[in-house]
Symmetry: C3
Subunit: 311 residues, 3 copies
Amino acid sequence: MVGAADFVGRDVISIKDFTRDEIDYILRIAGEMAPLAKSGSDILRGRIMATLFFEPSTRTRLSFEAAMYKLGGSVIGFSEPEISSVKKGESLVDTVRVVEKYADVIVLRHPSEGAARFAAEYARAPVINAGSGAEEHPTQALLDLYTILKEKGRIDGLTVALMGDLRYGRTVHSLAYALSLYKVRLFLVSPDLLKMRREVLEDIKNRIEVYEYSSIEEVLPEVDVLYVTRIQKERFPDLAEYAKVRGSYKVDLNVLRRARSDLIILHPLPRVDEIAVEVDSTPFARYFQQVENGLVTRMALLALILGAIKE
Amino acid sequence: MVGAADFVGRDVISIKDFTRDEIDYILRIAGEMAPLAKSGSDILRGRIMATLFFEPSTRTRLSFEAAMYKLGGSVIGFSEPEISSVKKGESLVDTVRVVEKYADVIVLRHPSEGAARFAAEYARAPVINAGSGAEEHPTQALLDLYTILKEKGRIDGLTVALMGDLRYGRTVHSLAYALSLYKVRLFLVSPDLLKMRREVLEDIKNRIEVYEYSSIEEVLPEVDVLYVTRIQKERFPDLAEYAKVRGSYKVDLNVLRRARSDLIILHPLPRVDEIAVEVDSTPFARYFQQVENGLVTRMALLALILGAIKE
Amino acid sequence: MVGAADFVGRDVISIKDFTRDEIDYILRIAGEMAPLAKSGSDILRGRIMATLFFEPSTRTRLSFEAAMYKLGGSVIGFSEPEISSVKKGESLVDTVRVVEKYADVIVLRHPSEGAARFAAEYARAPVINAGSGAEEHPTQALLDLYTILKEKGRIDGLTVALMGDLRYGRTVHSLAYALSLYKVRLFLVSPDLLKMRREVLEDIKNRIEVYEYSSIEEVLPEVDVLYVTRIQKERFPDLAEYAKVRGSYKVDLNVLRRARSDLIILHPLPRVDEIAVEVDSTPFARYFQQVENGLVTRMALLALILGAIKE
């Protein structure tokens, strides 16, 4: 049976490193963190987290930092690689081996796929992947699962639609895999150019039902959870193509007329205009709760990895 | 009667949102913060302040951060908008609605007038305006008042001269308004190009006596508090004009021969050469005490807004 | 006799400001910090350290910050001068006199020689030099000494070789001086262009035996401690010259065949390729322990300067 001891000192590189039982355990601990997020606590007093962000990400960085502070710990790090030792030509491995002398846990964001795994191999301190390349963003997947569980009461039995850029979005790769550990039906809704990568698809379709669509309209009435991601202009060789696609992947009140009354909409944020502001005040919108859930999920991970949970 | 309960959860956007009684109350609490600034305290332990600086300001940012730390709290945030989500096109409203999930209070600095008010309307967390556009800098006005009160023993009955750039300096707009709540005589001393904006003038001259001058020399003997601000070269279409003006708005020992012996000189800092370094060692100079007073004033605001003061 | 009281409120500008007895005392306190580096402590709770880095240095900054956090204190500061008040034309003296109102101790890094000394003269708060110009890096010298002492059990009686850029490296200037207070034999190994500055040499050769070499090969068998530093391409007017030199100052397994079995190798890091990665797993390599020792040495300095050590 899974217990707190299974997480002490552990790296969090890929959502694939966790079993469903382990994920369920993390989500349970996340639930227990909610009161500490309000009151603060000192279960990590004297412990230091290093945030090494070789690529900017205000949201993820602030979320991890707030999580550490709410547990009573401290934070060191950098958010702009240009001003770090890296500029002097230091290797990632050396950076990690230096920083682990100062910190009890390392949170790493890096533009290269595989960077987090590589760093974790050399570091004795546990490494948490806060996004590497287009590949993985495991803590986002965990907070997405936690949000679905909290808002819908369950994950099994739901129909989840992932919509937008499914090709380059690291968030949706981790999430699709995570969802495949549950009994969900998965709809993948994207323009042709931005379809889910074949290798991700192969990986999950043995375990769950997966359907691909190019438009949300027809299938929306069946959807319990609509997960929207940003479509970036830069992905399109042709601006006319982009303009056409953009309109079809925008969620507004008109689109939502066909939605179930208990549909929930998630988004990893930041959004640009994939979700119209008018949706924010509907009961569908749960993307700001999702942010709050990110805090408690990361509190749970930090507390578990640093051995502060006893049960 | 004004009490601590009036401040819990409150935004600090404009000095105009406060009555004289409320300001007096804040200044009293600031006085009580001085011993905590020495010893530290834990009255905000477990609470998080976010500093969202969309425009750099080392001084103001460090002052708020030190205030939060001296009260036992923690700080997250950014000081360079280029590396934040904003770069990805996120709206100010979304940024604020995300960050309030991580933080108990938001300190915002923004180049646009009205940005702080706008953010406060959407945020549930209290927002403190740390400078927005050329308009307002309410916490600077509070620390200026606190410094006058502390150094002179009173505010009522004083003659205060504001000198330098009165047109673009947000500090002097907030301060002029704040002073107009007291029984002061106000001298506005500036080059023609940089005179106090009409709307600010209209606003205050119903309540107090205001006189405009283009030189400090003639009126200095009547002044109790000389508040100097920076004159920026960029404001002048003609460099010759700037060169002429610059000399007349520099305070040095020669100018000060005509000063009252108990004159105090303030400056929001950073200074370039508006005040000669030779003035620093005279008893007139109080601009570094002003910095220290900024710390306790901001401690008072944070403690009040976050409900840590009970009286 | 040297005691904790001798360090309270003291600046750390140059290693030359300390006697051997004082250095020995600091190294002893550093040893006592090791358990606190593991567990954390609260001996500096409520105290604030400001890190003013006018020149980037991730490693040194993170080391000081971790030291302060492990002692229970807080940290404010900046690591990019462009976004600070300095950009508005503020003088270093004004910056320091403002920041000391917020902080109990100032850690300063600056590109100009003499900047730290100059700042310390104007500041009432103690100033720690975290590297200024090509001149001095006293805390690095202290951690280097501590590492030698810890790894070899003594400093007196050892033969120490400093190798690489001895001309521009501030680390080796401070270290050479510090070593000259002990009974060591010093080998200086560098290309002609990068020989130790005459004034440093004059200063130390009255006290200890110093020998200069252009290659490590011949003398390696006599060396107890090999201290390697980076050779920067920019120092050479001629790239061919650089290419030639670079190969001769690289430490790899082949070079080390002639080393004593108990040789230890140090490096201030970051390294580029002066030490081959294959050396990392040999018992010679102590440069990552050196990093760890930097943490406890800086904890000792902060605790002493801020009066938290009683003995």
